[in-house]
């Protein structure tokens, strides 16, 4: 019998969860324990204290086991916690957007998982979230099927559980993709810091001509700096690759046609399984930060209605991977190719000019300062001025090339950015409202930023620097009838 069909039955966590904390503490205290076993025989007191130390986590575990329970009843999922302050957290089943199963290595050893149920209730303190730490894998799988199935239809459940037949693997991680790991945005930040370090070291050597170092020693110092830098970059690459593998090892994205869900599984030590209700996937965001873009890579996240920013991790669909894989998955998720592949409408001349002024004015100020420094301190700063201007121009050009929007097949598509470029596609039915923001400069140029607000992902899709006319027409085509009454 399915234990979840009992209407009144409060279910407990799996008793094996009692072992999680003691095992974790055992690992942590292993060195101390070895010490006690080897040398502690003579001093009896130490051994006793060790036992007390192990006892406390056991007690905490027992009390948590005794006081946590959950049930599904009357179309709601309820979780009850607390010994003295009893609390019941509950949510209607039709509010369940995602179910997330996480298993740390200790959980995996014991055959347990932690379940987090993502509902539309955004924010709130952590204890208000629906989380069950320590379900057996089998119970969790059954509960998940029940949660997502009932979320979809109030109709009685069919007897057969969804079999593996209607599951189709959409994407499987290729280990070669780790090459993208150091190229993500965080990678660029660290590379930038490393370059800054390099610049600073050069600068240190340049502006200290009074140091009477013979050329050999100076050469040696430069080699030392270079070797150090290579070391830093290599370490960073290794860390990035390790991080990528820890998170994404064994990444498999599957689509289950039977209950219309996206299911993904990933992780090397701590595994994570996420199930997304397809009906709640209202769009997709293709991230192509500069580094990834140069290596023809990208990544993909789903825009899931009702998940707030704190639950973003649940919505990754493709980790950094080749662009064509990302495009393929995006097309499958959206159900139509045009939001991903359609050419975008470019923004006008005035948007072009604004990209350039926005990049070149700060660059010009910095370059002027560098020129002044070149006169006053050292000619090396002239190079900095040139570099800043070139960087500004590159940024302006790239940002301009990225700028675009479209309205195709019921999706609002917007792309912008350079270092952190994103192409976002949002279904117009999920557009809640519109924000049109224009600074004094933008108003003078007849431009405005158009923001479509939504209840998922980053909560907004922004189209930068549209001509006022184009913005109004885009918004009014995307949500017919809403703007008409306010047209002047």
């Amino acid at each position: 019998m399915d234990p979840f069909d009992t209407v009144l039955g409060w279910q407990r966590l799996d008793p094996r969860m009692l072992l999680v904390h003691p095992v974790r503490d055992l690992v942590r205290f292993l060195p101390a324990l070895v010490g006690i076993l080897l040398f502690g025989r003579s001093s009896d007191g130490g051994g006793w204290w060790g036992l007390v130390g192990l006892g406390i986590p056991v007690l905490i575990g027992v009390s948590r086991y005794l006081t946590t329970s959950y049930r599904i009843t009357g179309g709601r999922v309820e979780v009850r916690h607390g010994l003295l302050n009893k609390r019941v957290v509950s949510a209607p089943l039709d509010r369940v957007r995602t179910v997330d199963l996480t298993a740390s290595p200790i959980h995996r050893l014991l055959g347990l998982v932690t379940m987090r149920i993502g509902t539309g209730q955004s924010g709130g303190p952590s204890e208000e979230r629906l989380a069950l730490d320590g379900l057996s894998t089998a119970d969790a799988t059954r509960l998940r099927a029940r949660l997502l199935h009932d979320a979809r239809s109030a109709a009685p459940r069919t007897a057969s559980a969804p079999g593996p037949a209607d599951r189709r693997v959409v994407l499987r991680l290729d280990l070669g993709w780790v090459r993208f790991a150091p190229l993500t945005t965080s990678g660029i930040v660290i590379a930038g810091a490393a370059l800054g370090l390099l610049a600073q070291s050069f600068h240190t050597f340049e502006i200290m001509p009074t140091v009477h170092a013979d050329s050999l020693a100076r050469f040696g110092a430069i080699v030392l700096v270079a070797v150090g830098l290579i070391g830093v970059v290599a370490t960073f690459c290794v860390l990035a690759v390790v991080g990528y593998l820890l998170t994404n090892f064994g990444f498999v994205l599957t689509r289950s046609g039977d209950d219309a869900t996206w299911h993904l599984r990933r992780g090397l030590l701590t595994t994570r399984e996420t199930t997304l209700d397809e009906a709640r996937v209202s769009g997709a965001s293709i991230g192509e930060p500069l580094g990834l873009r140069l290596a023809r890579g990208a990544r993909l996240a789903a825009i899931v209605t009702g998940l707030d920013k704190k639950q973003q991790g649940s919505s990754v669909l493709v980790p950094p991977a080749p662009r064509r894989e990302v495009d393929r998955v995006a097309v499958e998720v959206l159900g139509t190719p045009s939001p991903v592949t359609a050419p975008l409408v470019r923004h006008g001349v005035r948007a072009h000019r604004r990209r350039w002024t926005r990049a070149m004015v700060p660059a010009g100020v910095l370059a002027t300062l560098a020129v002044v420094a070149a006169y006053a301190v050292s000619w090396a700063f002239a190079g900095l001025a040139v570099a800043v201007l070139a960087g500004g121009a590159g940024l302006a050009h790239d940002r301009w090339r990225g700028l675009g929007h479209a309205l195709v097949d019921g999706y609002l598509v917007a792309r912008s950015g350079s270092l952190d470029r994103r192409r976002e596609a949002l279904h117009t039915a999920s557009v809640i409202g519109w924000n049109l923001r224009a600074t004094w400069f933008q108003r003078r140029a007849g431009l405005t930023d158009l923001v479509a607000t939504t209840a998922g992902g980053r909560q907004r899709v922004r189209v930068l620097d549209l001509d006022v006319d184009a913005a109004t027409s885009l918004a009014s085509r995307a949500t017919p009838g809403l703007l008409d009454q306010f047209l002047g």
Binding site: G433, N435, A438, T439, T453, A455, R458, G481, F486
Partner: protein, 159 residues
């Protein structure tokens, strides 16, 4: 094709409320400047800096609230809420009535001093809340009641 501004202006007393809130905003910096030059005696703030600071404060407090008053407008129709706020950066927000989730009535200390209130309309998107500052108290309550009634009469779960 262009949006017209919303029809209704906020209460003229809002200018004085904003003058008040803007003055309060400068209090911490002023206090620190006074402490540094006076009782703590870390360094003497030169007279020109005092003058520059006073001019800045006077200009900001003199101009910005008036400018805000010219920009801030609102409108409620059968099917949507439309607001315009800001001064340097002007922001127009439109939310359909069917997506309105909550309607709040708020009153800060300075607003209460001038008999004014704020109405805040939230939607399921955290980027989409509409705020109308500087409404007369009675008017604000009327708007809240009207909005609550209209939002309730539209079906849907507002997500």
């Amino acid at each position: 094709m262009e949006l017209r501004p919303p029809r209704e202006r906020v209460d003229p007393r809002a200018r004085w409320m904003w003058t008040g809130t803007d003055l309060v905003r400068f209090v911490p910096v002023t206090v620190v400047l006074l402490l540094v030059s006076g009782p703590w005696d870390w360094f003497t703030v030169p007279t020109w800096l005092w003058v520059a600071y006073a001019v800045l404060v006077a200009a900001y407090v003199g101009i910005v609230p008036q400018w805000r008053f010219l920009v801030h407008r609102w409108e409620v129709t059968e099917s949507a809420v439309y607001t315009q706020t800001g001064w340097w950066a002007r922001e127009r927000r439109i939310a359909p009535m069917s997506r309105v989730q909550t309607v709040d009535h708020r009153q800060g200390a300075i607003a209460r001093l001038f008999g004014l209130a704020t109405v805040r309309v939230t939607t399921a998107s955290s980027a989409g809340a509409l705020t109308i500052e500087g409404l007369g108290q009675a008017q604000a309550l009327d708007i809240v009641e009207e909005l609550t009634r209209m939002a309730d009469s539209v079906p849907g779960d507002a997500t």
